[in-house]
């Protein structure tokens, strides 16, 4: 029943033998030890488990590992380059875009997708873009501010 799945995660290729029912989030966390991606609701609602799959934000609790075969995955661990935080990470830090931090990896990966589609979003567009991500600390205001700051930093 097991199958081999080959995924490129944060630019490094891995081949894993998995059960077809294994979820992508478990492949990342358990097989590859990348625990930056969190599991929140586990029912495709909270967005904590968001990663980029071929550049697009997906909820990794609702993707089977076998569906990610040959895909390019980016997790929160893959954003910083050569010790330099990604502008989104930098701005979440600077603008206090997190409180407990549990939703943060998902928020940042979703924001990454949003800014790739719309490099200069309004606050309303950011709030709509984050429809699929919940912050139970309710710290949305500074999350929006942080994404605006990152957008401006990326544009310049």
């Amino acid at each position: 029943m097991s199958r081999n799945v080959t995924v490129t995660v944060n630019q490094s290729e891995h081949t894993c033998e998995v059960e077809p029912r294994l979820l992508l989030v478990h492949l990342l966390r358990e097989n590859l030890g990348l625990t930056g991606t969190n599991i929140g609701c586990d029912t495709s609602q909270c967005g904590s488990c968001t990663v980029l799959m071929d550049g697009q934000a997906v909820k990794s609790c609702t993707v089977l590992a076998v569906q990610a075969d040959e895909a390019n995955i980016t997790t929160i661990e893959g954003l910083a380059q050569e010790g330099e935080l990604h502008p989104l990470q930098e701005s979440f830090w600077e603008k206090h875009g997190l409180q407990c931090g549990f939703c943060t990896p998902g928020m940042i990966m979703t924001a990454h997708d949003l800014l790739s589609r719309n490099p200069d979003p309004t606050d309303t567009e950011i709030r709509h873009g984050l429809d699929g991500n919940l912050c139970r600390c309710t710290g949305y205001h500074n999350i929006v501010t942080a994404i605006q700051a990152a957008a401006s930093s990326i544009r310049s």
């Binding site: 077809p20 934000a57 993707v63």
Partner: protein, 285 residues
């Protein structure tokens, strides 16, 4: 949460998928998986075999030619929402599905065959008089969207068949389409979803198609509303009057749940009919 275990096959062509589907009793087709995987995780669904069609190239993409737009069954809501060749009401509808992450994975074909009464795309596709291309062990067939949806989570799709594409006509000048929706505050599904397609000539409505979702067990054509619109000069008061006719279309079987009772949905129906029709008229120019 893990689903029950299952046997997994990846198909590389439509014919291979159909052959696999017909070799395995009870097998289900996996496209984007955004209806199926949550149901399997909650163990509401336990297909012993999944046939993954997600990598079949022929099922991807949107092609416009000779007055028609053909949308591959694996086209995601996200791609549909960004498309400038499909009728504007269809891209608008796709943009209201779930959230960005869900739209990146969920597909038009998956939404259509799942036939959730609270889904968005079926409502608009019936209003646009779309047709669905289906392949099966005995060949290909085409069925109209209106005939396809037969009940709550029930369709005309037979065992062993796959929906390969959705076809809609190009939107002509003078015709406008729009979707208006009362969102479930938690899930974003339609508690009331109204699709309207309206053609206007010399200031009067010459053709109208209004379809309701979220209200009844299956998509419902609001023919009383459409009849009240045709032949009329469409302005605020005439649209509002026509929208009230939706009560004649709804009948007694209106859905209700903890988010919105049947009475509340019924009261909201004319409001969303009015909004959808007014937006379609505006787009018809």
């Amino acid at each position: 949460m893990y689903p029950f275990n299952f046997e997994y096959h990846k198909a590389s062509s439509v014919s291979e998928a159909i052959s696999l589907l017909n070799q395995h009793d009870g097998a289900k087709v996996l496209a984007g998986g955004h209806s199926l995987i949550p149901a399997m995780k909650l163990r509401l669904s336990d297909p012993g075999v999944l046939i993954d069609i997600g990598k079949i190239d022929d099922l991807h993409g949107i092609n416009a030619s000779k007055g028609a737009v053909t949308i591959g069954g694996l086209t995601t809501h996200s791609d549909l929402a960004a498309s400038i060749v499909v009728p504007i009401g269809l891209s608008e509808t796709a943009g209201t599905v779930g959230d960005q992450q869900v739209r990146n994975r969920g597909t038009i074909g998956g939404s259509v065959v799942h036939a959730d009464p609270a889904a968005d795309l079926p409502t608009m596709l019936v209003a646009l008089r779309a047709s669905f291309h289906i392949s099966g062990p005995t060949g290909n067939r085409t069925v109209s969207a209106e005939d396809f949806f037969t009940g709550m989570f029930e369709t005309d799709l037979e065992d062993g068949e796959i929906l390969t594409a959705v076809e809609v006509a190009d939107e002509q000048s003078g015709t406008g389409s729009a979707y208006s929706k009362l969102f479930n505050p938690a899930s974003g599904y339609a508690m009331v979803g109204v699709a309207a397609v309206v053609t206007v000539a010399s200031g009067k409505c010459t053709e109208a198609s209004v379809v309701l979702g979220g209200l009844t067990p299956s998509v419902m054509v609001a023919s009383s509303v459409a009849d009240s619109l045709v032949g009329v000069k469409l302005e605020e008061t005439s649209i509002a009057a026509a929208a009230e006719a939706v009560q004649n279309d709804l009948g007694s079987d209106v859905l209700g749940d903890i988010h919105a009772s049947a009475d509340y949905r019924r009261a909201m129906a004319p409001v969303y009919v009015r909004r959808a029709v007014a937006a379609a008229v505006e787009r018809a120019g």
